[in-house]
């Protein structure tokens, strides 16, 4: 049974040995409806306000994307603004349901980022607890990780001050320290990975390297091609919601750069 399946599945993309798939994206479409839909509440009101007929605008952000990601890969998603790469990332994270198609993954893919859960009026210490719980850590796990998070953020005694009093660099360091305190099997990173001053950037690059080693698979969306080239093994180039190229990160990046140059000339 296993060998027969292996024969058929491995036929499409031959590779040395057998690798464990961590994410399977199967013909995913995402259609946003930007709409002034005539819902029931609206129709009732329209008699009074005399609003016109509801206008519907469909945005086909992702159009039939299929790929399989494997253990140990770090995949850079490239593409212009509005190419659908961030939407795809959110679909993989399970934060946005695909209009059509399916995504299968190992565990719960997690978007790196905790900023939205934090409250500026609270102290850094309280925010570590709140952010940790929001990320799905238990109180016990947070207790165990607490010192390390404070240490890494380099906030020292500032940790008891409200977040709103932090400089933007301090806030970014704390968010990064909380967000990277745990390694999920599938990690999704949207933009701006390493923030802060040069010293912290070096430190955070080290941690990202560790995450990459520990996590099964990492997806990175970035406008910075150098950072993708440096941190990724595989590249996926998306344009208008479709995959244009998928393969070795350097080759894909080259194709992407060439096309970008062609458009500017």
């Amino acid at each position: 049974m296993a060998t027969r399946e292996a024969a058929t599945t491995l036929a499409a993309a031959p590779r040395p040995g057998e690798r464990r798939p961590t994410v399977i994206v199967d013909d995913v479409h995402v259609v946003y409806k930007v709409k002034t839909e005539r819902s029931r509440a609206a129709t009732r009101g329209s008699r009074l306000i005399a609003s016109g007929p509801g206008r519907m605008k469909e945005v086909h952000a992702v159009r039939g994307v299929t790929f399989t990601a494997y253990q140990g890969e770090s995949i850079g998603l490239m593409g212009r603004n509005g190419s659908g790469k961030s939407t795809l990332l959110r679909v993989v994270a399970g934060l946005h349901p695909p209009t059509q198609g399916r995504v299968y993954a190992l565990g719960q893919p997690t978007l790196l980022g905790v900023g939205a859960a934090l409250m500026p009026e609270l102290s850094g210490a309280r925010n570590i607890r709140l952010g940790g719980l929001a990320m799905g850590l238990s109180n016990k796990e947070i207790d165990d990780l607490y010192d390390e998070i404070v240490e890494f953020s380099g906030l020292g005694e500032f940790i008891d001050n409200p977040l709103s009093t932090y400089s933007s660099g301090m806030g970014a360091r704390l968010r990064f320290a909380i967000a990277t305190s745990r390694t999920p099997p599938v990690l999704l990173v949207d933009e701006a990975l390493a923030t802060g001053d040069a010293a912290f950037r070096r430190k955070s690059e080290g941690r990202i390297k560790r995450l990459r080693e520990e996590a099964g698979t990492i997806f990175v969306v970035s406008h910075s091609l150098p950072s993708i080239l440096e941190s990724c093994t595989r590249g996926i180039w998306m344009d208008q919601g479709k995959i244009l190229a998928d393969g070795d990160v350097h080759e894909v990046a080259e194709l992407y750069t060439k096309s970008a140059e062609k458009q500017t000339t």
Binding site: A2, T9, R40, A41, L95, Y104, G113, E121, L130, P162
Partner: protein, 295 residues
């Protein structure tokens, strides 16, 4: 892996079978109701922390902080005392009108705030919903938890007012905690429904305050429904005596005031409303779980 592919890099086999073979789970699909409730329960510490944090955060906003949570209903109590109690003479409805008004107002405040803030809980936390994965039902529930914390801080005020206005220490005080619990369950269900509806039709958020105000005037915060509706048609009486707001207020007042009676029917409805709203609220909210990301 240097092969370039344009368009579909066909996997060849059935993706579902491949996923199953390697133990991959479908992503972004709504878990069955039972699993969902279990997952939400597993994240209960997040709900309580969110509630505690928002109380603390509100203290940072202005000088009097959380005290406003209490001052607000108390100032309104004074307004209602003057406007309705004295001007329109509803103080005659009750032997201890001030006690009647304070207990009713603070209980109503809990209910009103839970539902209104619950309604906005998903849309206001849009960024959170769009970046982290957790059962969204935690959001309306944490709003009710937050209001519960606020209500506890108002309990001493209730006790001081009723003692100062001539009520004694009563064994009936024991009715207050279970009533608060039932009211909390009812409010959780109502907050879930309101959050679901608001994320679907934003206009609900604008409409809700008026609905709640109508409900408040009908339910008798500053007058006694049993006096005012004594000669009203039967269905008006039934609505006024047994609607969710009325039954919880009635029990709270019974707990603290000597002149307010209680019936088994009121107790019956207090339990039924809590169970019905919690059940319907949970199911309705859960059914839209994967769509809150759009909100």
């Amino acid at each position: 892996m240097t092969t370039m592919s344009t368009q579909r890099s066909a996997t060849g086999a059935d993706p579902a079978a491949l996923a199953e073979r390697w133990g991959l789970q479908p992503v972004g699909t709504r878990p069955p109701l039972k699993a969902y409730v279990k997952e939400a329960w597993g994240r209960r510490h997040f709900a309580t922390e969110l509630a505690k944090s928002s109380v603390i955060a509100s203290t940072a906003e202005n000088r009097l902080g959380t005290l406003w949570e209490l001052l607000n209903p108390l100032l309104l109590t004074i307004v209602y005392y003057l406007a309705f109690g004295l001007l329109l003479g509803t103080h005659r409805d009750s032997q201890n009108f001030l006690g009647f008004l304070v207990v009713g107002m603070l209980s109503w405040w809990f209910l009103n705030r839970s539902i209104r803030r619950g309604a906005g809980s998903v849309t206001a936390n849009r960024a959170l919903v769009r970046s982290l994965h957790f059962p969204r039902i935690i959001l309306p529930v944490s709003v009710v938890l937050r209001q519960t914390i606020a209500f506890f801080s108002s309990l001493p005020v209730i006790i001081v007012v009723v003692l100062l206005t001539g009520e004694g220490v009563r064994w009936q005080w024991v009715f207050a905690p279970p009533c608060l619990a039932l009211m909390g369950l009812f409010c959780s269900g109502a907050a879930m429904l309101a959050a679901w509806a608001t994320s679907r039709w934003r206009d609900i958020g604008d409409l809700l305050p008026f609905v709640l105000r109508m409900w408040m005037y009908f339910t008798g915060i500053f007058f006694n429904v049993h006096v005012r509706y004594a000669h009203a048609p039967h269905f008006i009486q039934v609505l006024a005596y047994y609607n969710p707001g009325a039954v919880y207020l009635q029990i709270m007042r019974y707990a603290f005031l000597g002149s307010i009676p209680i019936s088994n029917l009121v107790l019956f409805w207090a339990v039924v409303w809590a169970a019905v709203f919690l059940a319907i609220g949970t199911v309705v909210f859960w059914r839209a779980e994967e769509r809150y990301g759009y909100a």
